[in-house]
């Protein structure tokens, strides 16, 4: 299948489009690559793509019976372009995302790689080959187009006064974000730093973030106008689970709209429940059996980690359902409590008001509704 010329593919897609009255016909002169073109060019059969999407449907809460229609429409739509910008971040989020492609060094044909094929990653400083002026040009070209998905990781130093905490080719982070957000269909803030400020926004000795870091949503709001109303999806977590990032992007490819979001703008399909709700230690929680120190008899029996500072009951994430490292496990299975990494202000949050900050400070059991 992969030995078709672009023209042959074009003709196939054009004739298929003409059978779908509800979809726009393609302008023959401007060549827009469709998802169908891309998959065929990469030797991914329609059947494989359908299988991939069906595998994700339960996770994305899309009724499986709708999948064939969604896939059909997605195949005939232009390829989703992704522009990936990084600000004050540690690259852990991107590390996590590339983990969705397991064993890539051995198996380039892994089903998880279909996501890489199904997107057009037009700009990512960490992953792309060009550098210098060439890289600048890729960004200018990518953001000159319309309706791409702008993925951002890292918080934004709010240095409108020009403190210079983030400068790239003479532009501040705020200027770069504004330019890239202008034509974006949606902004996906990947990681807790981009979603809520995260570590860069944690308070320093003077009670302020040293760089004045704010979330991407807050930065966009500060620009006003079209930026304040731009659709933002927060995919929080430090880092977010690979499948959660991938699932959010695949949802967009298939539906061309954001999934249902919670009050913190996180997709409900992944952040609808706390990690505590599905934790396998919950039975001990209910029976009041708690670990009191990391090496006590309760720890060996796998008791609940609440008194060791577990923030599971107030943390919305999919760790206990989707699990980490291709479904291997989650922190409580390794004997450590949840740090609460996917919630706003998790570095500075006091488990009990007035009791000080700390990952090992326990929550007040009386405030946990169960």
């Amino acid at each position: 299948m992969s030995n078709l010329s672009k023209k042959e593919l074009r003709n196939c897609i054009a004739s298929r489009l003409s059978q779908h009255l509800e979809l726009e016909t393609l302008n023959e002169i401007s060549y827009i690559e469709t998802l169908g073109d891309r998959l065929a060019n990469s030797g991914v059969s329609r059947r494989s793509f359908m299988k991939y999407c069906m595998g994700l449907s339960a996770m994305m809460a899309i009724p499986i019976s709708l999948m064939p229609k969604l896939v059909e429409a997605a195949l005939l739509s232009p390829l989703t372009s992704v522009v990936y910008l990084s600000f004050q971040e540690c690259t852990g989020c991107l590390e996590s995302l590339v983990n969705v492609f397991p064993n890539t060094q051995f198996k380039t044909d892994s089903i998880e790689n279909i996501l890489l094929t199904a997107l057009s990653l037009d700009y990512s400083e960490t992953l792309m080959a060009p550098s210098g002026t060439q890289a600048e040009k890729s960004r200018t070209d990518a953001i000159a187009k319309k309706n791409y998905v702008l993925v951002v990781d890292g918080a934004m130093p709010d240095d409108k006064g020009g403190a210079g905490f983030f400068i790239q080719s003479g532009k501040t982070g705020l200027q770069l974000l504004k330019a890239a957000a202008t034509n974006a269909a949606v902004v996906v803030s990947v990681g807790t730093c981009a979603s809520f400020g995260g570590l860069p926004a944690a308070k320093g000795q003077n009670g302020k973030s040293p760089t004045g870091a704010i979330s991407i949503k807050a930065a966009l709001t500060s620009f006003g106008g079209i930026y304040a109303t731009k659709k933002v999806i927060n995919v929080s977590g430090c880092p977010p689970i690979a499948e959660v990032i991938a699932g959010t992007l695949v949802y967009w490819i298939l539906n061309k709209k954001a999934p249902e979001l919670d009050s913190n703008l996180r997709p409900k399909m992944f952040y609808g429940e706390t990690v505590h709700e599905e934790c396998y230690r919950k039975e001990f929680f209910e029976h009041g059996q708690f670990v009191e120190s990391f090496d006590d008899a309760g720890a060996r029996k796998g008791y609940c980690l609440l008194n060791m500072g577990c923030k599971g009951p107030i943390t919305h994430n999919a760790c206990t359902t989707l699990k980490w490292n291709q479904g291997t496990g989650f922190p409580m299975e390794a004997g450590h409590g949840c740090l609460g990494c996917s919630e706003p202000g998790f570095w500075d949050k006091e488990a009990i008001a007035g009791q000080g900050i700390g990952f090992y400070k326990p929550l007040d059991i009386n405030t946990i509704d169960d």
């Binding site: 299948m1 196939c12 059947r47 991939y52 069906m54 009724p63 019976s65 195949l75 089903i111 479904g327």
Partner: protein
């Protein structure tokens, strides 16, 4: 070889004997599948149940469903980015489908009510591509001759 009927592939009327919630869900699913069969016959519209989206089904409910639906005449295997196993159940038109990834991990498990599972049919685009490719092959073969 003579076809041996087992308890699992004789279409019997199921009576719930256990209080387990997994079994209750499995019973509900059987009713749902029954309704899907009616829709298929009346309108030609297929129906799919995603067993992975139903964690409450539990091991007991899952086994119950699998055992009650049993095995039919057709089984098929798809080899694409890991294999998929498709098995007709003892009830014609009800198919049990399991998709695996390359590491033989289960991607998803479905019950599809259809005359032929959607994924077994060759997608139209792929057929169009093969039409082009086959004509190329024929062209090459003609030149060689």
């Amino acid at each position: 070889m003579a076809h041996v009927n087992t308890f699992a592939n004789i279409p019997i009327n199921v009576v719930i004997t256990s209080q387990s919630s997994g079994l209750t869900i499995a019973m509900t699913l059987l009713h749902e599948i029954q309704a899907m069969l009616k829709t298929l016959l009346d309108t030609g519209q297929n129906g799919i149940l995603d067993l992975r989206a139903l964690p409450a089904l539990g091991e007991d409910g899952y086994q119950f469903l699998k055992e009650k639906l049993g095995q039919g005449e057709v089984s098929a295997r798809i080899q694409s980015f890991g294999h998929s196993e498709i098995q007709e159940t003892a009830y014609s038109g009800i198919w049990w489908i399991v998709h695996y990834n390359q590491d033989d991990g289960i991607l998803t498990e479905l019950v599809e009510v259809n005359f032929l599972p959607e994924l077994l049919k060759s997608p139209k685009d792929d057929v169009m591509f093969s039409q082009i490719n086959l004509s190329k092959l024929l062209h090459e073969l003609t030149i060689k001759k």
